[in-house]
């Protein structure tokens, strides 16, 4: 595979030749001018060519420990290497972010750390996807093929994102009050156990609520047959809960402050709590919710600069450092890359790279029911 040279490298080499004396000043300025002219001619805004120079790329993620890991291990070194600043924004959830992107002008948002194939499909269906030039992302070769294929299936064989990490939304519980044995025995039904009334919580995300209600009623979350039973289980959980959480920070706070003893939680956040010394248990019940996250390039973004950042972030040394910081296994194939000592200890990690043990949401099934279920959940959530 031959890699197309990016603009940064091209200009760096040109400048190097000039500084080394291999190129006289007149030729150097002439080549820079020609590049500018060529760039200007190919766009309808030729006279603004200078203003279009890519100086920054906007990246939006989940905040907290996840964004800290990105900042420290990926963005800072990338900016140092390329001179392109990464503007680092955060969001509380995929729905909120999609609404912001929908309200924005093209190019305002560039790369997003999206969760699930579900979100990828929604962005694609709304015409917000791009087509990545995979030649510019050679590090894509290290990624688990199964994670790439599911995205290709959504967007006609093309990619608008690169897979980056995966994890689970499992049961998190305080071991001071709930034993591992009890959690394993009760599984998802722990979240509707009357014994823990007002000490239960859950994510306010309708998909997660329905997924766990399906497990509580003994159904396959990707093929629910009795929706009435699911809504009853959602209501039961609502009446026993003290509060729904809306962000990773709130999830960690509720558990750490012992406001709640049990909730479902994101594997990486619970691992972070364990690292902080909180005695938290975490299990994935049978058919527990697996998900993968990707770095999605939004329509209107400067493609080469974004592809360069994606390639930089997929480089094993960057990807592993970020994964260790955010506590989610990277999308890198353990059969191709040595992932070090910490990653194999993370929840949800699959050493085979096949991910057969995780159940992912079927994007067609969940997208097909999104409009009706999200609306109904909004009502059930408020006591109806």
């Amino acid at each position: 595979m031959t890699r197309k040279m990016d603009n940064t490298t091209r200009y760096e080499r040109l400048r190097e030749r000039y500084m080394n004396g291999d190129l006289d000043r007149r030729s150097f300025l002439g080549l820079i001018g020609a590049a500018g002219l060529a760039y200007g001619v190919q766009t309808p805004f030729a006279r603004f060519a200078h203003a279009q120079e890519v100086q920054q790329v906007r990246f939006d993620g989940w905040g907290g420990v996840v964004s800290e890991a990105f900042r420290e291990h990926a963005f800072a070194p990338y900016t140092e290497k390329t001179g392109i600043e990464v503007v680092d924004g955060t969001f509380g959830g995929g729905d909120e972010y999609l609404s912001r992107v929908k309200a924005s002008q093209e190019g305002e948002y560039n790369i997003a750390h999206l969760s699930g194939v579900f979100d990828y499909a929604r962005y694609h269906n709304l015409g917000l996807s791009t087509v990545l030039n995979e030649d510019n992302i050679p590090n894509l070769q290290y990624v688990i093929p199964k994670l790439i294929d599911v995205f290709r299936n959504v967007s006609d064989g093309k990619l608008s994102c690169v897979p980056y990490d995966y994890g689970t939304t499992g049961l998190a519980y305080n071991r001071k009050y709930i034993s591992d044995d009890e959690a394993k025995e009760k599984g998802a039904k722990l979240l509707i156990d009357e014994a823990y009334k007002d000490k239960i919580s859950g994510w306010s995300d309708w998909r997660t609520r329905i997924w766990y209600a399906a497990l509580q009623t003994g159904q396959n979350p990707n093929a629910i047959e009795d929706m009435d039973a699911v809504w009853d289980a959602v209501r039961q959980h609502r009446d026993l809960s003290v509060k729904y959480w809306g962000s990773g920070a709130e999830l960690m706070s509720l558990l750490a402050e012992e406001e709640v003893y049990v909730t479902e939680g994101w594997s990486g956040r619970i691992y972070a709590l364990q690292e902080q010394g909180h005695d938290m248990g975490y299990i994935d019940p049978p058919n527990g919710m697996g998900w993968q996250e990707c770095l999605f390039v939004i329509k209107g973004s400067p493609m080469e600069a974004c592809e360069e950042l994606l390639n930089f972030m997929l480089a094993p040394e960057t990807s592993i450092a970020v994964a260790e910081g955010q506590n989610y296994p990277p999308a890198l194939d353990p059969q191709k890359v040595d992932l070090g000592d910490k990653i194999p200890t993370l929840p949800a990690f699959d050493p085979t790279g096949k991910l057969d043990g995780l159940t992912f949401a079927d994007p067609a099934y969940w997208n097909g029911n999104e409009q009706e279920w999200s609306k109904t959940f909004g009502r059930v959530q408020k006591g109806y």
């Binding site: 729905d95 909120e96 999609l98 609404s99 929908k102 929604r122 269906n125 709304l126 015409g127 007002d198 309708w206 609502r238 809960s241 003290v242 509060k243 729904y244 809306g246 706070s253 402050e257 012992e258 406001e259 997208n367 097909g368 999104e370 409009q371 999200s374 609306k375 909004g378 009502r379 959530q381 408020k382 006591g383 109806y384």
Partner: protein, 288 residues
């Protein structure tokens, strides 16, 4: 151009930057919201342009929205009443204090220097299971287990009172400060007790300020969504939360537009009623 014509134009010239800002930032977006409310959301989340009454029909006939709206008005009314009861004595104390009025007013304004969200979240550290209140009670041996105080309608009202109380105090203060204290003295000299002088002279004269504070508290309280989100339980939603959900969670901007206009109309009617009977002048004084 005559002097009269020039003088007639001057206020409009001075007002034009503000009018332009209001037109661009308030009326134009409002027109967009009205237009949006007649569109439809498709299954993919995209908007279907057209003239459909579906959103309005749903918003106006579905008992779900009516119930949440009534509950929102109830919470806003309770909050306003609590603010009035707590705010009036504070405003009276500031208005009648000698010498340190400026410091007291500064103290009143201090909470505005901190973000509203941070102020709301501070209650978690006060009333939470591991919060200051429970820790103190447990340290004193009064309780053995922490009391669950957060995430219910009471804490939502508490958070709203915390947010809105300064608005009430400021409005009542402006009203009380403008009352000539000689009137109370005159009432006393005519045989009225201090309580009677207050009830028959001061209180009636300060009612416009109380009403202005009440209107502000009610309108701001009814339109909030952060407080119930942070301090409320699963079922403690207010009407603005429905707008948030329709627009953010369900990506249903058309329905969200219809709901937000519905809330705007209800609160607008209240403002019109206030203006009809009391006028906006008192409100402007309080805000100033």
């Amino acid at each position: 151009m005559s002097v009269e014509a020039r003088e007639a134009r001057q206020p409009w010239i001075l007002l034009s930057p503000a009018l332009t800002a209001v037109a661009l930032l308030l009326f134009v977006p409002l027109i967009f919201i009205v237009i949006y409310s007649f569109w439809l959301r498709t299954a993919t989340g995209a908007d279907q342009v057209g003239f459909y009454l579906d959103n309005w029909q749903e918003a106006l006939t579905d008992p779900f929205y009516r119930d949440i709206l009534l509950n929102t008005l109830k919470i806003a009314a309770i909050t306003t009443a609590v603010c009035a009861v707590m705010g009036y004595p504070a405003a009276y104390f500031i208005a009648r204090s000698k010498g340190n009025k400026a410091i007291l007013l500064l103290l009143l304004m201090l909470p505005f220097w901190i973000s509203y969200i941070i102020r709301t979240m501070s209650w978690i550290n006060i009333l939470g299971v591991s919060g200051a209140f429970n820790s103190t009670l447990m340290a004193l041996g009064i309780i053995s287990e922490p009391i669950q105080m957060l995430y219910n309608e009471t804490t939502v009202i508490l958070g709203l009172v915390h947010f809105l109380l300064p608005f009430m105090v400021l409005n009542v203060f402006v009203s009380l400060d403008g009352i000539d204290t000689n009137l109370e003295d005159a009432a006393n000299s005519l045989g009225a007790t201090r309580w009677q002088a207050f009830m028959q002279v001061t209180l009636p004269l300060s009612l416009p300020g109380l009403a202005a504070g009440g209107l502000l508290c009610f309108v701001l309280g009814a339109g909030t969504y952060i407080t119930p989100m942070v301090l409320g339980g699963p079922t403690d939603a207010m009407f603005a939360n429905l707008v948030f959900e329709a627009i953010i969670t369900q990506l249903n901007w058309p329905l969200g537009s219809a709901l937000s206009l519905m809330l705007l109309v209800v609160l607008g009617v209240l403002v019109l009623i206030y203006n009809r009977y009391l006028g906006m002048a008192q409100l402007m004084k309080g805000l100033g």
